[in-house]
């Protein structure tokens, strides 16, 4: 039996899926990316360094903040610039806004319908008008955080090499703090909903890769943890091999010859001890115990992160409001060098590897979370028949399960082709 899904809906971008099922075994599971190549890594060569984050932000309309900031981080690493603490706090807060925005979108609007068997979100919206309203409100907080700090909710304009062009309006931050606190009960309610869902059983051991940080739940900065090994981002990339098949516009990756998974589940696996108290409570209450090699739990992990992000946003907003927002002009001594920037994007760790000479980009490689996850996702799909009861399902139901697994990874096809 051949399974073919022409368009996988409710993921960002366009992808299709093909596989053969031979005597119950899934063979040759392939995700084909249907987006066009935009050659961002190519068009940025020869351009001024400051244009890199501004143009690269346009890779994706869902997660522009992470592309923008990772671009700056890579350049700062290359030039040996250390942004001041206020700038880092502001960037972290903007990251939290990005995660809140993206997770709430994926959790409620992309994933939930699968658990209730709806084919369209509009059906979901009609069935759960109150919950929909909550989800929209939660997402709106994320947008407003990005807007307050970045100058607008999509494609931030305030970040600059070494810091910020403009500090946020303190009144806006105060308003946001009040609204974050007000929205917190809705976030916990959404968390309850996701801890109560029944996640399909699945098990295939893989390497879970994310940033880690000694003092905090790593989102903005840190070293890379891959299984039991810990690397500097640059060292990690030395062990990552990109490969691309003919007719495919995405470069997939393997780490030391094996597929690996990035994203909320990997982050939680590597960082759960650093979760904020409420998020920690939810994790303990849920049936998610580590290690758990089941990508369906990526959805639950996102809902726990959403709670963490709200708690963290409240902490950082309070810090900014009580402290003094003062940004120092960074000293840029040289505009020549190479550096790797790594950040935890909503869908997993994102790398920018850049080389610049006299302020002009010479070389750039961008490795997105989805590009890293695709090989692992395909390997998971090949094991799909081991899911309890998969062989007893009708073709339609099998297709639904396959789509559900793909969506659990929260792929961003747009980012994977850049």
């Amino acid at each position: 039996m051949k399974i073919r899904i022409d368009h996988i809906a409710k993921i960002e971008g366009h992808a299709s899926f093909t596989a053969d099922i031979i005597r119950g075994d899934v063979k040759g599971a392939r995700i084909k990316i249907e987006d066009g190549a935009r050659l961002f890594e190519g068009i940025l060569r020869g351009r001024k360094d400051e244009e890199l984050p501004e143009i690269a932000s346009r890779i994706c309309g869902v997660c522009p903040v992470v592309h923008n900031l990772t671009g700056y981080k890579a350049l700062e690493k290359a030039y040996g610039i250390q942004p001041d603490e206020t700038s880092i706090t502001l960037r972290k807060l903007m990251m939290l806004g990005q995660l809140i925005n993206s997770h709430s979108l994926h959790l409620f609007f992309f994933s939930l319908a699968d658990f209730f068997g709806y084919k369209s979100d509009l059906q979901l919206v009609n069935a759960y008008p109150e919950k929909t309203h909550d989800a929209v409100k939660i997402r709106d907080i994320g947008n407003r955080i990005v807007e307050a700090i970045g100058g607008r909710s999509v494609h931030p304009i305030t970040p600059v090499l070494g810091g910020f062009r403009k500090t946020p309006d303190i009144l806006k931050l105060k308003e946001l703090l009040t609204d974050c606190k007000k929205t917190m009960p809705l976030v916990l309610k959404l968390g309850d909903l996701f801890t109560q869902l029944k996640y399909p059983a699945f098990h295939r051991e893989t390497t879970l890769v994310s940033l880690i940080h000694p003092n905090e739940y790593a989102i903005y900065d840190g070293r890379v943890k891959a299984g039991k090994l810990i690397f500097e981002p640059k060292e990690f990339l030395l062990l990552v091999k990109e490969f691309q098949r003919v007719d495919n516009v995405v470069k997939k990756t393997k780490f030391a010859g094996n597929t690996y998974m990035v994203g909320a589940l990997a982050r939680l696996h590597n960082n759960f001890e650093k979760l904020n108290p409420e998020a920690r409570k939810f994790l303990e209450k849920s049936d998610l115990k580590f290690p758990r090699y089941n990508p369906f739990y990526n959805i639950l992990a996102q809902s726990i992160e959403l709670i963490h992000c709200f708690e963290e946003s409240i902490t950082l907003l309070e810090l900014l409001i009580t402290g003094e927002i003062k940004i120092s002009e960074p000293k840029i001594l040289s505009r020549t060098g190479d550096g790797v920037g790594a950040i935890e994007a909503p869908r997993g760790v994102l790398f920018y590897d850049v080389r610049a000479r006299d302020g002009i980009i010479q070389d750039l490689n961008i490795i997105t979370p989805t590009a890293q996850n695709l090989a692992n996702l395909e390997a998971d799909l090949e094991e799909f028949e081991h899911i309890e009861g998969f062989n007893g399902l009708k073709k339609e139901e099998r297709i639904d399960r396959i789509k559900m697994l793909i969506r659990a990874y929260d792929p961003c096809v747009t980012c994977s082709v850049h």
């Binding site: 935009r38 244009e51 346009r58 369209s120 100058g151 607008r152 304009i157 403009k166």
Partner: protein, 225 residues
């Protein structure tokens, strides 16, 4: 959410997986068609639709991906990125109106949410929406004394179509022209200003101008002058 009660969404694959509908009153097209399949779909959507709206800088002026068309050999560029370039479409990037008839453009990267809803609501109400042809400078809080261009920063506000509320200059960021040029611009004057006020060389000026693509009739009209 309130907006959703006024319309029937025909095909929105980001939110649903139902089959396409037979025709659309209003089709909104984002991005540029790069693959042959995207071009095929664009033509089908055009045939099925009464009104076709191009949304965002990519659809209206080509977007940053169009830069590759100005940077020498575009296949060589592709070879730098992909080990296997066979089977990957690499056409010249075209804005939507170069490929099919476009009834209305909503520019910007990002778009202005308020403008979007105003225009779509006017379309639903049977009106013909208009975006007023004026420069970003008119909305800019920095005009006169604090003008970026006068301070020697490369700002495209004077040739760029307003409607964004001049958010960038308000955030200490010179306008990079994401909404595309307005009607009746004097491109040569802009280039001269960039040369003498911002002290840029010709190559640098070209690079700024090509950031969001040049596929715009106002650029072409200006070039004829």
């Amino acid at each position: 959410m309130e907006f959703l009660t006024k319309v029937n969404i025909g095909d929105f694959r980001l939110a649903e997986e139902l089959p396409d509908v037979k025709y659309y009153d209003i089709a909104i097209v984002e991005g540029t068609a790069i693959t042959k399949e995207q071009l095929r779909r664009l033509k089908i959507v055009r045939k099925k639709s009464k009104i076709l709206v191009a949304l965002g800088a990519c659809a209206c002026v080509g977007g940053p991906q169009e830069i590759k068309d100005y940077r020498g050999n575009k296949n060589q560029l592709m070879r730098m990125i992909y080990p296997n370039i066979r089977g990957i479409d690499n056409p010249n990037v075209k804005s939507v109106k170069e490929l099919v008839k476009v009834d209305l453009e909503i520019p910007g990267c990002p778009i202005n949410k308020e403008e979007f809803f105003r225009i779509i609501n006017e379309l639903i109400g049977g009106k013909k929406p208009i975006i007023e042809q004026k420069p970003v400078c008119e909305e800019c809080i920095r005009k006169n004394k604090m003008c970026f261009l006068l301070l020697g920063k490369p700002c495209l506000g004077s040739i760029t179509l307003a409607g964004c509320g001049a958010l960038c200059p308000a955030n200490n960021f010179p306008c990079d022209g994401c909404r595309g040029p307005r009607k009746g611009i004097n491109l040569e004057a802009m280039k001269k200003a960039l040369k003498y006020k911002a002290h840029l060389c010709e190559d640098e000026i070209e690079m700024i101008m090509e950031r969001f693509g040049e596929k715009n009739e106002y650029i072409k009209a200006s070039k004829k002058i």
